[in-house]
Symmetry: C2
Amino acid sequence: MKKVTINSVAQYAGVSKKTVSRVLNNEPNVSPATREKVLKVFKELDYRPNPIARGLARNKSFIIGCLYDNPSKSYITRVQSGALEACHKHNYNLLIHPCELRGEALIDNIDQLLTTSRLDGLVLTPPFSDSRELIDFLKQKNINYALVASAIQDDESISICSNDEQGAYELTEHLIALGHTDIAFIKGHPDHSATENRFNGYKRALEQHQIPLQERLVAEGNFSYHSGADSAKAILDMTPRPSAVFASNDYMAAAVLKLATQRQLRVPEDLSIAGFDNAPIARHIWPGLTTIAQPVEEMTRLAVEQLIMQISEPQEQVYQRVLEARLITRESTAKNH
Amino acid sequence: MKKVTINSVAQYAGVSKKTVSRVLNNEPNVSPATREKVLKVFKELDYRPNPIARGLARNKSFIIGCLYDNPSKSYITRVQSGALEACHKHNYNLLIHPCELRGEALIDNIDQLLTTSRLDGLVLTPPFSDSRELIDFLKQKNINYALVASAIQDDESISICSNDEQGAYELTEHLIALGHTDIAFIKGHPDHSATENRFNGYKRALEQHQIPLQERLVAEGNFSYHSGADSAKAILDMTPRPSAVFASNDYMAAAVLKLATQRQLRVPEDLSIAGFDNAPIARHIWPGLTTIAQPVEEMTRLAVEQLIMQISEPQEQVYQRVLEARLITRESTAKNH
DNA sequence: CAACATTATGACACCGGTGTCAGATGGAGG
DNA sequence: CCTCCATCTGACACCGGTGTCATAATGTTG
């Protein structure tokens, strides 16, 4: 069981190791006969190039880093899953790096990460994808990166997002169509651009239907279940109580549902509740939550694929795209009587 | 902004690069004065050794792989979090590798992973940690590994688990103490050793209290929410209906709760429900689920730490440990009337 | 103080690939 | 048949560290 290196392949095939390397990397200027011969030896010896040696010679690691700071486990795993798919397709690996946006020394932390791990690129997920400071740092350091679900679309950044504003608009419109006019809204974390986008969609729908925005119905949250619980308390204590609540994500919506149920309110008869994200919890509870599904895996997959392309052959034109979100209606919303 | 390599450090400090290497690795046989001098240059030049070059020279990657195939996102993120903590502490990185135990070619898949990524070790989480086939393969290939939540304790394997049997025993006893005797049980996935352990705990508690085990009350699940929903239907259709349901994890318990609520059963007045794992959903729903909390992060952290120790200095005595699980009571269980 | 053991240091090859460049080979054109 | 150019191919240095071993410097002993 000896190690198969490029040297043994070269010797066995009767060519120089440089020629083997050429075949390996699909470089031109290898005669078809030689290429064939070497490829055959690859199979015979079951040769697999050592990525570490390759990395050293090319100053590459074939590793993409994924930054996140998100309370939603399901969001994180969806992001990972999309990123992994793209990585594996191109023989890259994924390094996960949870860290805090508001941490004392984010830039230092990332700098450390980059120099110790020699990452070839970074995928930034919210809220990092909206951090100007971080992005400027990466630009200055000449590190390739891709933004997921970011509001930034600046011609220099690969950026894939979904249409939060439109999603929130449709969901609000759905509630309005059910006869609701007093619709409370729970905002997300202020560091995420999704927070503002979703709120804007809500406002636009109200405006469109000539329903005045009531500031009193807008609560501050931060996407965590806990913050949803706090907002839920404030909202359910209001008089008059709104007939519907639109929370900026499903966890906060679940918190509203929990409190409402505790207080013997019937959902959706007495109170309609809607969320955002289509997290697993949205269908694990009763009644199931009406929500907006986003293509998180798809977004991340595209972002990482573009990132890898950018790494292998830097391009002038950078890829940007907005994917569609879609409304999913479940039992938690119903006609206002 | 030139690159700082071991050569530049050596030159700047006026020593050979081998000496720099010695200081870097805390090797003996360097005079205190020289060591001091080199360390000072490290700081001055902000030198960070290139892990790739190091890896090539030592035939190491400083990367640990983490295998999982688990429907629970929260479990996965907890595992990752524990593993990352241990990795970062020792300057390792974590590569995540979701794959299917029942996949057509698991061994090939892992073989591929190992040769292309040159991992220094693997952490196996359930159900991989119970796969004899995989473990034998790793032994034969001389790959270091650590088992998380495995039933295997064979003196050659690092193995950290928590006491599932005891946890299930305590939870069942809790239900018995509340006056329940007809306690349905939903099993987990047959590939996980936890499934049998939890079932054994349930049986032991019944036996201890002279309650005969009723086969009709035992349903097959597989830890997924969906399987829980199927079992829930079977259980709630039974006549007479049991007064309590103990599901082998919280997702399945949540499915029981959802169906019970849909059917207008009051929980816990008409039906007590308990789960296992203390997943986030257990406290995100109403009523909150009585469950068993396991130290998942702690298990994984310990496993990875031991794994890294094993890698750096192979030891005769291998580390094994059983951590305690603990009962968490919430609103979903109450006295049987 | 000679003889030897111990500690400190550096020269050099090596890990397994890739980049550069010079030289070999072969076909087209005059 | 010779020149010229395009296509192949390999020798060799190099990426940034580590291992081996010889040698220099220092310490210990009789």
